[in-house]
Every structure is written in structure tokens, then in C-alpha cells.
Symmetry: C2
Subunit: 452 residues, 2 copies
């Protein structure tokens, strides 16, 4: 009796633990889901958009006049929606056009192959068809390895093999094949059209806009680093720096981790029509160039940061007074130049003011080089502590060079994409402001001061 009740208790508590575990798991999944949606609410909208598109297309099935016409082929429209509807307009358009035109061309080719094979009678037909299918599959599969084809037409190649096989091996007559093909192509076109229309008309997500924002954001992350370091005294002790060493300074690290995303966005953006401030043939390629330079800059900043935060980094009072000023000025001016570039990209205006800051930081770099060479510095202080400081200085000079290249690339983008000129009045006020407070330590969480 007691044993049985013990067992019952054991079972109950076991069941309780299990339910508790399940509940904890559910709570975890729910919180993860909320985090994912909060992180980028466009994910939720995208899911709803796909659900809506699919529902609309599947309704065709129930709407008799259309269904009677398409028959079972209406399935192809449903299939098209699921396969083609992607997050950004560019990806959807690219996949949709690939699917539609690959079906059209490969279908026509398949019909031709079917007709040719049928000429050789009942025995020869399977053999000839198989040879055709084998050859086309081999050629198109190999073509998918070409990088230029892979970037733009990978999906089309696959659909090409698919449709060609479908049509050429189908065991029906030539007339029926044409009817089948016509139905397939029209339902697929219909599906693609619905996808594209809904993708563009209901809160569209443009890959081009994403690329544009991303490049601006990455340059801003570099600016955060320079302004973060420039606004404090440069060669503080390790402890002081660690307190200062908050996340906004280290934002540049994310640039190093996600270098492939820009290529993907570029491939999608090429499919997109003009939208917002972007014309049809916007120079998207230039963004990749700026992105590569930004990556290189982040790469060097990482070396600089490691140097500054290394435990062996100790700087004496003498060095502080000697080379701190040019270092701070270089850092601040580079930060300001980058900020100007960011606001120039964001507002699509000419980056006229960036040049002033680039020149300022180049002048500071010269000053730094001169003081590193002056014998006064070498005589007055402990040599072992000078090396890391001098090293930091050299790295800074190196970084200023890359910043100049970034500025040139943005200038090139501005002229390629015909950015409008910055308003002269505002620009003047802006530069006045800068003169009054040259080292005011602009907080790096403020919104960038616009120039147009």
C-alpha cells in the first residue's frame, strides 16, 4: 500500500518536473521569438506578407472562372509564391524573373527536343530524350560554377534543368505539350506578378536601401571609435580607459564579422527598379568599394585598439605632454571627417566639409611625425615606455591614410550618383561652429550634425 503511494508520488513528482521543464522551454522559446521580432520588426511584417500572398494565390483555386481555365496548373502559382517570395524586393524580383524566363526558354527548348525525339519512333525516343536531358543537365550544372552566373542566374539555371526535363520527357503529344507549357508559364508569371506587386506595395524592404544604410552605419561606427578616443585624454592609464571602454567604442568590431552581407545585398540591389532617392542605375558597385575600405580601416583600428588596451601599455607624463595633443587632434578630426561622410551619404549631399577635417587630421599627422623625430622627446623620457606610444602614433597615421581613401570613394559615389550640393549657408554656419569649438569633445551619441 505504502509502496504504491510512494510510486504514485514518484510518478507525480516526475510528471511535475517534466511539465515544469516543458513550461520553462516554452517560456524560453517565447522570449527568443519576441527578441527576434523586436530586433528587426520587418521579420514579422515579412511573415505576414508571405502569408497574405499565399492566401490570395490559393484563393484562385476556389474562384471558379480562373480555376476552370488553369486546372491543376494553378498549383504552379502556389508553388511559385512559396519559392519566390523573399525578404527584399530585389531578391524576390531576381528569383521571380529567373523562374519565369527560365521556364519560358527551357520549356520552348524542351518542346523542341520532344518533337525531335518523337521523330525517331517509339524505340529511339527514350534514348534520344535521355541524351538531351543528360547533356543539358551537365552543361547547366557546370555553368552554375561560374561566379558571375552564380551571383545572378543560379536559380534560373536550376529551373531551366527542371523545366527542360519536365517538358521533354512528358509522354504526351506535341499539341498537348504546348498547352501544358502555356499553362505552366502563365501560372508562374501570375505567381511572380502577385509576389512582386505585394512585395513592393506593402511596406517594401529594398536591398539597395539596406546596403546604403549599412555602409553609412559602418562608417559611423568608425567615427564612434575616433571620437570616443579623441574626446578623452589619449594616453590615460589602463584603468581609466577600461571604464571609458564602453560598447560604443567597440562598435567597429561588428564590421569585421559580417563582410559577406554587403555582397549579397549588392546582388539583390542590382535587380531593383528605382525607388525613393535611388535611380534605376544607381552606382551600387561603389558601395562595395567603400565597404571594402571600411573593412580595412576597422581591421587597423582593431590593431590600434589592441595596442592601447594591452596591459604593457604605460605612458609617462613627458610623452603625454609631447605627443598627446597631435594624437587627440588627429583622432577628433578623423572622427569629424567620417561623421561628415556619414551625413553626406545619409542625406545624399556632396561631402564638401569632410575635406576640411581630412586636411586638419593630415596636418596633425605631420605634427605628430615631427615630434616623434624631435630629439627632445628622446632625451626626456624612459625609452621603453616610448615604444608603444610611438607605435600608437604610427598606427594612427596609417589609419588617417585609409580615412582619406574612404573620403575619396564617397566623393566618387557622390559624383556618380549625382548627390545634390550641400546648402552653402548651412555649410558656412557649420564650419563656423567647428572653428569656435575645435576640441569640444562632441559626445558620440548625439545625432550627426547635418550639412544639407
Amino acid at each position: 500500500m505504502e509502496m504504491v503511494s510512494h510510486e504514485k508520488l514518484g510518478l507525480m513528482s516526475g510528471g511535475f518536473v517534466w511539465v515544469k521543464g516543458l513550461f520553462a522551454k516554452l517560456v524560453e522559446v517565447a522570449s527568443k521569438t519576441r527578441a527576434l521580432g523586436k530586433d528587426d520588426p520587418r521579420r514579422v511584417i515579412h511573415s505576414l506578407k508571405l502569408g497574405l500572398t499565399l492566401t490570395i494565390v490559393s484563393m484562385l483555386y476556389y474562384y471558379k472562372p480562373l480555376f476552370a481555365n488553369f486546372g491543376v496548373s494553378a498549383m504552379w502559382a502556389v508553388m511559385t509564391v512559396v519559392v519566390v517570395f523573399e525578404f527584399s524586393v530585389g531578391a524576390t524580383l531576381g528569383k521571380g524573373l529567373n523562374r519565369a524566363f527560365a521556364t519560358l526558354f527551357a520549356g520552348a527548348l524542351g518542346a523542341g527536343a520532344h518533337h525531335l525525339a518523337a521523330l525517331s519512333g517509339h524505340v529511339g525516343q527514350p534514348i534520344i530524350t535521355s541524351i538531351f536531358v543528360f547533356l543539358l543537365a551537365c552543361i547547366l550544372t557546370f555553368m552554375r560554377f561560374f561566379p558571375s552566373i552564380k551571383a545572378k542566374y543560379d536559380y534560373g539555371m536550376m529551373i531551366g534543368i527542371l523545366t527542360f526535363s519536365f517538358v521533354s520527357i512528358s509522354g504526351v503529344g506535341d499539341d498537348e505539350i504546348l498547352l501544358l507549357l502555356q499553362k505552366r508559364v502563365s501560372t508562374i508569371f501570375l505567381g511572380v506578378c502577385v509576389c512582386v506587386v505585394i512585395s513592393i506595395s506593402i511596406s517594401p524592404f529594398w536591398a539597395g536601401q539596406d546596403l546604403h544604410n549599412r555602409i553609412a552605419l559602418n562608417i559611423e561606427k568608425l567615427a564612434l571609435f575616433f571620437q570616443g578616443y579623441g574626446s578623452v585624454e589619449y594616453f590615460k592609464t589602463l584603468q581609466d580607459r577600461e571604464a571609458k571602454d564602453d560598447k560604443s567604442i567597440q562598435a567597429y568590431k561588428s564590421i569585421l564579422k559580417s563582410s559577406g552581407i554587403e555582397d549579397t545585398l549588392y546582388n539583390f540591389a542590382r535587380w531593383e527598379p528605382g525607388h525613393g532617392c535611388f535611380q534605376f542605375r544607381h552606382p551600387w558597385k561603389q558601395y562595395l568599394k567603400i565597404g571594402a575600405l571600411t573593412y580595412q580601416c576597422a581591421f587597423r583600428i582593431d590593431a590600434l585598439h589592441r595596442n592601447l588596451s594591452s596591459s604593457s601599455f604605460q605612458v609617462s607624463q613627458e610623452i603625454q605632454t609631447q605627443i598627446q595633443e597631435p594624437c587627440m587632434e588627429m583622432s577628433m578630426e578623423t572622427g569629424k571627417a567620417l561623421r561628415q561622410l556619414v551625413s553626406s551619404i545619409r542625406e545624399m549631399t556632396q561631402p564638401t566639409l569632410a575635406e576640411i577635417h581630412t586636411n586638419n587630421s593630415k596636418a596633425a599627422a605631420k605634427k605628430l611625425k615631427a615630434s616623434l623625430k624631435s630629439s627632445r622627446l628622446w632625451e626626456s623620457c624612459d625609452l621603453l615606455t616610448l615604444i608603444p606610444a610611438a607605435n600608437v602614433g604610427t598606427l594612427l597615421v596609417d589609419v588617417v591614410d585609409i580615412t582619406e581613401k574612404i573620403a575619396e570613394a564617397v566623393q566618387e559615389l557622390a559624383s556618380l550618383a549625382h548627390f545634390k550640393a550641400a546648402k552653402p549657408a548651412e555649410a558656412a554656419i557649420q564650419s563656423e561652429k567647428e572653428k569656435v569649438e575645435p576640441n569640444s569633445g562632441v559626445s558620440f551619441v548625439t545625432i550627426p550634425i547635418g550639412s544639407g
Copy 2:
């Protein structure tokens, strides 16, 4: 008369130019194709394998007994081959299993939804079905944003939405639906089986093997750098170094460019059954850890390389005699340690000898630090030229730390994957050899000296 003949000549020469251009283009495409095939001959084999599989499956269409059973559904098998057959076994298996099981489960769910909707009569059915389709599409699409699901089940989610929509909106009776579903599932399973069997039986390309080779190759590239620099006098003049600065030394740069490939290979390798020397639950994740450390090491090597090849890098005779020896020794020993790790990974033996070299390079690092601190160095030479040399030394010390971490990670891999012990006799001979010729400047193009 003359004008006409002139025009003719013009047309002819125009036509000739056109033909010439076409011919040049064709030659270019042909040479590109050959280069692509030569670069990795597996691409050609993959194309042939896909062609073969597709031909075999499409033959089902002509083989009456099977065709009579499957009917038009045989198309699904053809479709499955085109969509599922990927380059590596892991990718094919992953996509195939995703497709097969997603079709099975979503099909059953769709049949249930169809049955439920049918209960509500002719008017209610479309509405209820649409609600089901909308909900499932939204949920599964959102689930695709979860990184863990995206890595393994992305394709399954898509096929799930597809099959559920297909089955639930099909306008046929319950019995027919079950028959349709049974046919679809069986043809898809058939297609997947043929793909997997051919992918494994005819010259299989394993993603796991690729990952294994790739990691070993990347460590070898690091070793090439160290042995390349260690075998020459370290602080040569710029001109001397540039002559030496051949491609084998700069091989490490490719590591920086392709950091995403390992993640992809890892995701595929997880699907693969045991093959060759790899058991089913081979610790693939450990390769990612080693890969990340290799990337970091290459990152620092790049900074080191930039320092050494910078135009301002000038080293006096004094420095050469003072710090060259420890730098060379560190470089050589690190290179040897890395080589040992490479051969340990390649031959799947315990990396026993690597530790000796790691310790040697640590000892050299200590020596270097000591001579950098000694006042003799500071007094005897030009200070401005000392900074870059000291900087190179510091970077080298930094790199040795990471090499040690790589050695630890490989050791961990060896114990996780139960690598066999290196043969003691050979190991002893090996270490004897090392003692006799400690700085023999092993050429870095020789095949790694095996330890087991």
C-alpha cells in the same frame, strides 16, 4: 557601281569584325571553362553525376511497370533530383531528408486541415482553409529567421509550407488526397534515395573531409609564412625581402578572405554518416574553433607583414646582431610547431612533437623580451630605427601566444576524435633530427615531415 562595291566591302569587313569578336568571345569562354574545371576537377564530375542521376530517374517515366503505378507523380521524382542533388554528400543528404520528412509531416497536417475544413460545408471550406494556410505560412516563415533552424532546417520549412498548401487546398475528396499524398511522398523518397546512393557511391565529395583538409591547409599557410621569414635573415633590407616575398609567404591572405566557408561546410558535415577516418559523431564543431583561431592568427600576421614590408622599415647592423637571432628562432620554431599540427591533423595522430616546438618558441620569446629590455641595445643604436624593429618583436610575441592556443585546440580535437598515438620510434628519430639541425632552414615547399 563603285559606291555599291564600297558598301559591300564595308558590310563584309563589318561582318568580319563581328565574327572575329564572336570568335574571341568564344575562345575566352572556353579558356575560362577549362580554368574552372582544372581549378577543381570535382566540378566536372559533379555535373556528370547530376546528369546521370537525372537520366536514371527520368527513365522511370519510360519504364512502364513503375510509370503505371506512379502516373504523373513520377514528375516529383525528377523535380527532387534537380533540387536536392548538391555538390557534397552532406548537402544532398540534408536537403533530401528535409524535403522527404517535411513533405511527409506537412502532407499529413494538410490532409487533416482539409478534412476539418470539409466538415464546414461548401461555403465555409475556402475560408477555413485560407485561415489555416495563412497561419501556417506565417509561423513557418518566421521560424526560418531563427539562426539554429536556418542552419539545418531552412529548406524543410519551405517545403512544409508548399506541401501543406498543396494538400489542404486541393479540391478533391479525402480518399483521393491520401492516395495523392502517398504517391507524392513515395516518389520524393525514391528521388532522394537515388540522389543519395549516387552521391555516395560514385566518387563521393564529403563536406567533412573538405572541412578537415581546409583547416589543415590553413594552418599550413600560417606555417609557410613563419618558415619563409624564419629561413632568411629576418631584418634584411626592403629590396632583399621583396625578392623573397613570393606567393607562398602571402598564402595566409586567402584565410582572411574566406571565413564563411567553414561554417557552411560544418552545417553540411553534420548530416554526413561516418566515412573514411571519420566516425558518425566526429567533433566537427572543434574545427570551427581551430578555424577561428587560425583566422585570428592570420589577422595578426597581416599586421606583422605590413610592418616588415613598410617602406619606413630600416634596421641597423646593431639591431640585426642583437634581436635577429631570437626573432628567427621564434619564427622557425612556431613554423615547425604549426607543421607538426598540420601533419598531426592530416594523419590523425596525437600532436606530441608540436609541444616541443611551442616551448622552444616560448623560450625564444623570453630571450627576445630580455634583449629588448637590456640597456646595451638602447645605448648602441639609432633610436628611430629601433622602434619598428621592437614593434615587429612585440607582434611576434603576440603571434606565438595564438599559436599556442591553436596547438591546444588541435590537442583537444585529437583527444575528442581519438586520434591514434604517434609511433614512438619515429617520434624519437624525428626529435633527434630536430636536435642535430636546429636552424637548418627547412624549405617550406617540402612535404610536411610526418610523425606517425
